[in-house]
Symmetry: C2
Subunit: 186 residues, 2 copies
């Protein structure tokens, strides 16, 4: 792949079970698992999007325990994964950081378990990743998925992951791993 690839995990705006737009709480294993998947598949950054300062501080504390604290010595490989984590206030901050000093054009691909329109399939996505262009930001939602404003603001939405049947309530940890494997595996 030629273009830089990064992931973002959104905690607001996301959907609750009843369809309301809510803020979700940080989950420790989301920090670890998505960082490990991001590192495996060559992502440059893993943005944890949370509007609440105390939750971003918690994310930073978890990361520093594994990058500078006692666990950094115990499991050095984990350090290489967690050093990709960037806690940010909102998705716009992730986009600005990724655009960088050169103000590159960032392409946003959202993800959803249901068909929400503007779909890009994985073949087309892989092709686009091999073409010249600015960085790509893959956006995942916690809770019951990304809020409508994130979907509306994305350039495209990756095709929902499906197994042989119609049941597809994967964890975000599983979904992110599968998406990165489909896009980046040799």
């Amino acid at each position: 792949m030629n273009r830089r690839l990064a992931i973002a995990l959104v905690h607001y705006p996301v959907l609750a079970k009843n369809g309301e737009v809510v803020t979700s709480a940080l989950t420790n294993l989301d920090v670890h698992d998505l960082a490990r998947s991001a590192r495996t598949y060559g992502c440059t950054d893993y943005f944890i999007v949370h509007p609440i300062l105390a939750q971003r501080t918690l994310a930073t504390k978890i990361v520093s325990h594994w990058t500078h604290g006692s666990s950094a010595k115990r499991i050095p490989t984990r350090q290489e994964a967690l050093s990709l984590v960037r806690p940010v206030h909102a998705l716009d901050d992730a986009m600005s950081a990724l655009a960088g000093a050169g103000n590159e054009q960032v392409t946003i691909w959202a993800t959803a378990a249901r068909d929400v329109g503007k779909t890009i399939d994985f073949c087309a996505a892989r092709r686009a990743m091999g073409e010249p262009g600015g960085p790509i930001l893959l956006v995942f939602g916690t809770g019951w998925g990304l809020g409508p404003s994130v979907i509306a603001g994305a350039h495209a939405v990756l095709a929902p992951i499906r197994g042989p049947g119609s049941w597809n309530h994967l964890s975000v940890r599983a979904a992110c791993a599968i998406v990165l494997d489909r896009l980046c595996a040799a």
Copy 2:
């Protein structure tokens, strides 16, 4: 796919960081995430292999909270996933359960992050799944991976998952999701 497919998550014998064979503790999100991936990709059973009764009892308690307890009402889809969980004492018990009354021949495919020999690549594995035959059991390890006796007893070991580089310290939750997607996605 024509053959029945099941997964097993082994807590003994698995490797510690120093290469010693140890027993690992049950992780709540392993119960959930692997069950959800198993359900998405049409697996018939998810065996949680643990030699300690108190840990199997804990697994059963987690499952029943989501299949019969208050959470079964709150998130009904989770019930369909967690009802696949079968806590067993040892991998042999998983094989016997899967062989069933007809005593079908069970094929064991182990998984490993390193190349440990007897490798079957994903193309060959998908082909084999489409041919007539008994059930297939995919075996995943916790900790630093499956103990040598499990690898030795398997019919084959699935090719290690790799991204563009050599770093591949995925979580077992991510690895299981990717393996099932590679084997079972349409």
